[in-house]
Symmetry: C2
Subunit: 539 residues, 2 copies
């Protein structure tokens, strides 16, 4: 049935236009307000979240051999929710059992159902905000935006590009080859979309929906059943997503088992077994490079789309607005305690200092400027909690503690700002969490060389540059592009290097070790299906 | 410079239209006629080929540490041509040295130069025909078509789709986010295309240009330097191609070393060293599955696009035109002595026989019908040479000889037709060369099951079906699609299952073990580059 498609066709067309315009377009409202989401929606979301706690999570009809679940809120307290769990073989079998029906459904049926699911997920944004907050540690406002509407935007973006790709070539054509004076040769040709196979999404602890949705929705749109393997500490946001998708699929006459939850535990993980199953032909992975390397070595039967670790740099060579720069960077460093994949980490400054609107600044003065800006931003405790959120994983806290030992501390607390030399190894790898390094380089060229080399060799999702020298900026732009990293120049005010907007920013370029996939370019959707033809002569 | 682009813009636009229409369109004329290619073109091509023999092949400015070359015509006689050769490291260095200039050139500059090169290659089609004939063993007419215009069509197809993909999203945009009553946030965004890196094309003995061009031209169009590693027995067609590309690139102000020849010998091959070089990020491979497996295991730093082995089947369940069917299949079996990747090999017939316009036919009678059709087709020796060509590789002759031992021979000679049981292993793997197997199956369903299972499990590029039962045909169509293979139904006359036309047929689906890449769909071009952004606030 294509009733959902008909209902959402205008939204799909708007999304397609936005994809090619790449200006601002946000179909799902980002403001956690009852004026947008309806009277009572805030309280209803809270109540729905409270009702889930301490209960078995219902996924009707889902494979279930046992229950697992040990999520604890980074803000304190166990969620005490259990999820249906099944062995990899049972999940693979269920996915395969759904594959043919999903493949046989038309693109309209699949795309319509997926947009309907997004609209319903959007209505549940307050609930998803609580689920995201209490699994990732994000502050509530961020959990609402990143877990809800921004993730939904990214999903719609993937669906719209998948639609474009599925409909890019016709599904039939007449091929007529002239034969001089004889009758032409004529063939009637028909093409069927052939999905790649079972898809596996390996979720992360910090952005389960935002990072998970593009692959999940792109795979489903192109006809591949998806097994969602959430991080054991962040199951709920994806479990809610799977539930809504299964409900909509059932209503749409699509197989509910085309979307499955592979809940597991840190003690008995099943990612490796799933990833190496011969039936799994697509893997979307967000996480560290070590496991990315493992997947590359062992899951060779699958197409692998990754977002991995990197070293995001800020190169400060000059400051047209020193205070504005410090305030802007302070927010980027503090937001969600540096646990965004886009958060800056390694700040490069020439040892001779920089020019600014407030006069010359030494590296120490730059460090102090950043430290003071962080203090200003975080001095109000309530605001600080909202900005910083909580640290998602206890291992991160331990790592920060270890880093502090023997370090030159510019600012202690969260986030920490440490001084490092140009060759200190610590600043040249990803230190996930609330820490940044102020690294002094010989001069401006050395700082740029270091920033671009880190992106090229270690990976980077974002880079920031502050400078007053337009000629040097013009030279830096192609150097960062060659390093395959997105660059933000002289940001001040309420635009931050961390931010990546659906329908405009391509998130992760795919051009350096921070990931091989890009949200969302054509290479992210096109390899998820192929075409098979039948052809026959016509008289 | 974009003079070439301006000159060829109309051709590019026609190609883009043809891509989406997918009817018949062949920009490069396939008839080896002086009325098309100009008075004297035939003799000039012959003379140019004769002049190359026994000489060092000139590639001005190309890395050269020594000379290699030991090609022998499958029709007899050594070519005695030597080519400049260099170690992998020297070739990689030269490619890398060209990379930045090629990346910095605009898509217009690259695409314009590539189409100019195709137009020049087309003018040399008679020369390329001789070069193809005397390295691959194809008959002259086929060598002209497949080596020249058909390969050029496939190249233009790849260039046109690469152009579409590079220009699919804008290179800049203004992102303006409303802020209620405050001034909107505004960002000026710019995107740069970032090529993936050095590309390696691993050529085959039988279709050096037809199979090589799509990857070569797609990589160059998207800004990646290409190292062409020809099969040691079929260097000349690709050496001519490299020379013309280098000439045009130099004229266009592009780096000539963006296209390099990696000539080697069977005794000292260098494919593995090239394929595993960290700089190589794209590999296009045509060849056997064993080396494909090696590449998957060892060249993990590169995106791999493959066409590998498969078992193409013909399922004969009924014949609306028995004689027409036999004649059609005889040509498909005989053409180029079965050395096409699209040639049928394993012919499945129900043991109870089939219905046809000439009455019921037993499996034996089907075999005799095919044998007689082959005899009819090949009784005139001159015609036989043109159709059969020569066997490219002496190993193929030895394999045919071994197969004959103890086999039930339906037709001896070239091509051989052997009888095989449903479970004989020999008919279930690729036997490259002039042999086909007539396999008797329990019934029609068993034959269809076997054909689709072979495609799914062993790979297939083509499948053919003959039947008189329309309901069964309707059931077979989705079964073959699920097996990821292109299906031709009831072909008779001058349309053959072997034929794959650029701008209409997607060659190799990428959906079964016969290859992971498709000529030419979006997934073939999009992963060859990424985008990097810079963004900056605007007042």
């Amino acid at each position: 049935m294509t009733e959902f498609f008909d209902r959402h066709q205008a939204l799909l067309q708007d999304a397609r236009k936005a994809l090619t315009a790449r200006g601002f377009w946000a179909p799902f409202a980002e403001i956690p307000s009852e004026s947008v989401y309806g009277a009572g929606s805030r309280a209803a979301g809270q109540a729905a979240f409270d009702a889930l706690k301490g209960q078995p999570f219902a996924l009707p009809g889902h494979p279930e051999q046992r229950r697992v679940g040990a999520e604890e809120s980074p803000f304190g307290g166990a969620l005490d929710i259990t999820y249906p769990a099944a062995d990899p073989a049972a999940l693979i079998a269920a996915a395969q059992g759904s594959a043919q029906a999903l493949a046989d459904a038309t693109p309209k049926a699949r795309v319509g159902a997926l947009i309907e699911a997004l609209v319903r997920l959007n209505r549940h944004s307050f609930l998803i905000a609580h689920a995201t907050q209490h699994t990732t540690g994000q502050g509530f406002a961020m959990a609402f935006q990143a877990g809800g509407p921004h993730a939904q935007d990214r999903a719609l973006e993937a669906v719209a590009l998948a639609w474009d790709e599925m409909t890019r070539f016709p599904d039939h054509a007449i091929w007529e080859k002239p034969q001089g004076k004889a009758a032409p040769l004529r063939l009637d040709k028909h093409w069927t979309l052939v999905p790649a196979g079972v898809a596996l999404t390996i979720g992360c602890n910090t952005f389960p929906t935002w990072n998970g949705y593009p692959g999940i929705f792109a795979s489903l749109a192109t006809g591949n059943p998806v097994i969602v393997k959430p991080h054991p500490r962040a199951i709920l946001p994806l479990a809610l997503t799977v539930r809504i998708l299964r409900e909509v699929f059932a209503e749409a006459g699509l197989p509910a088992d085309a979307i499955l939850l592979a809940a597991d535990t840190a003690e008995a993980p099943m990612t490796q077994a799933l990833a190496t199953d011969p039936a799994v032909r697509i893997i979307d992975y967000t996480g560290g490079t070590a496991f990315g390397d493992w997947l590359r070595a062992n899951a060779r039967q699958a197409r692998l789309f990754t977002e991995e670790a990197g070293v995001n740099t800020v190169t400060i060579l000059g400051a047209p607005d020193f205070t504005g720069m410090c305030d802007n960077l302070a927010f980027s460093l503090a937001l969600y305690s540096g646990q965004m994949c886009t958060a800056p980490q390694t700040i490069l400054v020439p040892e001779g200092g920089i020019d600014s609107d407030l006069g010359h600044k030494t590296p120490d003065q730059v460090g102090q400027g950043l430290a003071h800006a962080l203090d200003r931003l975080l001095e109000d405790p309530a605001r600080a909690v909202g900005v910083l959120g909580a640290v998602a994983n206890p291992a991160t806290v331990a790592r920060m503690e270890a880093l502090r030992q023997g370090a030159r501390v510019i600012r202690d607390g969260r986030p920490m700002l440490l001084a490092a030399g140009a060759d200190d190894a610590v600043a040249q790898g990803e230190c996930f969490g609330p820490v940044a390094f102020l690294v002094t380089c010989a001069d401006a060229e050395a700082a740029l060389d270091r920033a671009t080399a880190l992106a090229r060799d270690r990976g980077a999702i974002t880079a920031a540059l502050y400078d007053t020298d337009e000629e040097r900026i013009a030279r830096a732009i192609p150097a960062f592009a060659r390093a395959g990293v997105n660059l933000s120049i002289n940001l001040t005010g309420a635009i931050y290097v961390n931010q990546s907007a659906a329908f405009s920013d391509f998130h992760v370029t795919g051009a350096n070790p921070a990931g091989n996939a890009c949200l969302t370019d054509t290479a992210f959707v096109a390899p998820r299906f192929t075409r098979a033809m039948w052809r026959r002569q016509v008289a």
